[in-house]
Symmetry: C2
Subunit: 356 residues, 2 copies
C-alpha cells in the first residue's frame, strides 16, 4: 500500500488506554475511524468506532480485527510479538515487529542503539549471580539492575549502590533475565517526539525537558533548557533511530544530558507521555502525527506556537479537576478511568504561555 | 442540580452532525461521555459512548435517552420543541426551551432582540399577500422575505428588489409564515461566540469576521477588522442575549457592521461554525466551553494565542484533503460524512499565524 488511506478508512489500534483515546480523537479530526483491540478496560473505546475486547492470544479475534481495519498501529509497547505475527500477513502494521521487539527487550534496545553509533549507559546482560558480579566488576557502582522485559515507571528495577547490594537486587528480578546499567551522571533529562512517514519523511517536535517523581514522569517543559547544538543532536539521534528501524509512526526517545553530551536512555515505539504538550502548543500534535504516518498521509506541521509545561495527574491528583478546570491558560485532560489507583495516570494538564 | 457533573458522567446531545462530533471530542478530553440522539446519520456517533437512532417523536426512546444521561444539550437548533417538553421533566436540558423556541422562529427572535434594546433590521410578519404589501410599504426595498421557521445557509429566502418582486417571493415561501426583513447596508459581518455557565458567569471569544459565499459561511478571520469599541459592543450584546434568556451553554451571535454601529442579524443557540477557529487558536475552544457550561463546570480560558483564518470545505472542496494536509500552519478537520453533496459542509481548515 503506497496510497494514503482515504477519509472514512479505519485504523486498528492495539491497546485501549489514554494514548489510544487521544489517538482516536486525532483520527476523528481527520475523518478516520478507529477500532480498538484491548483485552482489559478501554478508556479509548468511548471515542472509537469499535472495540474488540479479546485476549492477545485469541487468533480468531485478531483475524476478524485485521479484516475490519485498513491498517494497524499500537499505543502499548508490550503487545506480545506473536500478535504482530498473526496480523502482519493480513494487514499493514505500523510501526512493525522489529521496532516492537527491540523496544521490548532492554538488552536488544541498548545493543541496537550502540550499534547505530549512539551513546548509551554502559550495560551488561545479567542472567545469574555470576554474570551480575562480572557486570558490577566491569561497570562499577552505582548501577541499576532492570528486568530485560516489561516493567515501567520504576517497576522491575533495583539500585546497586555497592557490590554487597547485588544479591538483594538480583532477588528483586524474580528470576527474570536482566540488564545491569551503569549510572549516568546527568544534569537533566530531555526527550524528543519524532515521526517518520510512509515515504521516509521525518519530522520532530521541539525537545522537552522531563522531571520524574517516584519513577513516573511528573512534568515536561518546552522549550528545554538546552543549548541549540544539543537540541539538534537530540533531534538527529531520534531521526537516526527512526531511519535504522525503517519506522513508520511516532517515537519517543529519552536522553540524559551529561557534561559530555547526550546519552540515550530508551525509546518508546509509540506516542509518548512527554509529548502531550503538543496538543495545546502545536497545530498538529503527536497523536495526529501518528495517525498521519500510519495512514500514509503527509506529516503535519509540528512547529510550536507557545511555550508549555505539561504536568501529569497521578492517582488522587486527578481529584483536583475542579480547581484545574478554573485555571487560566491551562488545558485539562482527564482519561475517563474509573479508579484512581496510586501511581495511575488519571490525566494531565498543560499550561501554555507566549513563546519566550 | 448545582453541583458540577463528575468525570465519568454522560452528556446527552440532541443531533449527531459535525458539531456533535466536535462536542463529543471536547467532552472526552474532560473525561465525560457523550450519548447522541439523532434520527438520521450521525458522524458524531463514531466518537461517542452511545447513539440512540430514533425519531424526534419517539417518546419511549426519548425517555430511555433521558434515563441514560445526566444532562442534555443540543447541537442542532431545529430540534422540535416537543422533544424538550418530554425531556425537561426528566433531566436538565441546557440551553432550555425558551432559547430554542426563540431561535427557531425568526419573528420571535427579532422581537426578543429588539425587546432587550438591541438594534435589528426593520422587520414585519408576513402571512399573506396583503401583509407583504403593507410590509414593503413600511420597510421599503430592497428587502428579504424569509420563512419564519427552518431554512438556513440561504435556503427558504427570497430577495425583493422592487415591489413587483413580491408575488414571486411569496410563492417561494410555499405557504409558510414568513418575515420581511429590510436590507441592512453593512460594511462587514462579524460574530461573537459567547458562553454562560450554570452560575451565570459569562465569557466570550474574540469576535470573528465572516465572509459568506452562496449564502454559506466561507471564512472566519480573527481578529476582525473592527474598532475596539465595536468589539466591546458585540461582546456586550452577546452577553445581554445570554442573560436575558437565562442561558446555559454557548451561543453564536451574528452582527452586521454598519456606519451607525452594530445590527444583530441572528443568534444560534449552540456552538457555531464561525467559532471553529477556537480549536487551534485557544486553549479552551467553543466545544469544550459548551461542555463545561452544561456540565456545571467553571468556564475555561478562551483567550486567543494566535491569529486565525477558518475556511469551510463545502461539497467537493473536501476532496482537496491531501493538499490541505500537507500545508504548513494548517489544522485540517474532516467530518466523516460519506457523501459530498453540493452545499454540504464536509470539513474545514484553520490556518493560524502569530498574534499580530
Amino acid at each position: 500500500m503506497t496510497e494514503a488511506l482515504a477519509p472514512g478508512s479505519t485504523i486498528g489500534i492495539l491497546g485501549g488506554g489514554q494514548l489510544g483515546r487521544m489517538l482516536s480523537i486525532a483520527a476523528a479530526r481527520l475523518g478516520l475511524k478507529c477500532h480498538i483491540y484491548e483485552p482489559g478496560s478501554a478508556p479509548a473505546a468511548d471515542v472509537a468506532h469499535a472495540w474488540t475486547q479479546a485476549d492477545w492470544d485469541d487468533r480468531d479475534a485478531l483475524k476478524r480485527f485485521a479484516d475490519a481495519v485498513d491498517v494497524v498501529t499500537l499505543e502499548f509497547e508490550n503487545v506480545p510479538v506473536p500478535v504482530l505475527e498473526v496480523l502482519e500477513p493480513l494487514v499493514p502494521v505500523r510501526p512493525g515487529r522489529r521496532a516492537l521487539a527491540t523496544a521490548q527487550d532492554r538488552l536488544a534496545e541498548k545493543e541496537f542503539l550502540a550499534g547505530i553509533g549512539l551513546k548509551v549507559a554502559p550495560f551488561a546482560a545479567v542472567d545469574n549471580a555470576g554474570m551480575l558480579l562480572e557486570a558490577i566488576d566491569r561497570i562499577g557502582t552505582p548501577a541499576i539492575l532492570k528486568t530485560r522485559r516489561l516493567g515501567y515507571d520504576g517497576k522491575g528495577q533495583a539500585r546497586i549502590m555497592q557490590p554487597t547490594d547485588a544479591p538483594e537486587a538480583l532477588a528483586a528480578m524474580d528470576g527474570a533475565p536482566a540488564i545491569l546499567e551503569g549510572f549516568v551522571d546527568f544534569e537533566r533529562e530531555v526527550s524528543v517526539i519524532a515521526a517518520r512517514g510512509l515515504d521516509g519523511e521525518t519530522v520532530a517536535f521541539d525537545p522537552g525537558e522531563n522531571v520524574h517523581r517516584d519513577g513516573i514522569l511528573h512534568t515536561t517543559t518546552v522549550p528545554a533548557a538546552l543549548p541549540a547544538r544539543l537540541k539538534q543532536d537530540a533531534v538527529l539521534a531520534a531521526a537516526q533511530v527512526l531511519g535504522a528501524l525503517d519506522y513508520v509512526g511516532v517515537i519517543g526517545v529519552e536522553f540524559f544530558v551529561t557534561r559530555e553530551g547526550l546519552v540515550v536512555n530508551e525509546f518508546a515505539p509509540r506516542v509518548h507521555n512527554s509529548g502531550h504538550w503538543t496538543i495545546e502548543a502545536c497545530v498538529v500534535d503527536q497523536f495526529q502525527q501518528q495517525i498521519r504516518a500510519v495512514a500514509g498521509w503527509p506529516l503535519g506541521d509540528g512547529s510550536r506556537h507557545s511555550d508549555a509545561v505539561m504536568t501529569n495527574l497521578i492517582g488522587r491528583e486527578g481529584d483536583d479537576w475542579r480547581d484545574l478546570a478554573a485555571e487560566t491558560g491551562a488545558g485539562l485532560h482527564l482519561y475517563g478511568k474509573a479508579e484512581a489507583r496510586p501511581g495511575r495516570k488519571m490525566g494531565h494538564v498543560t499550561r501554555i504561555s507566549p513563546k519566550g
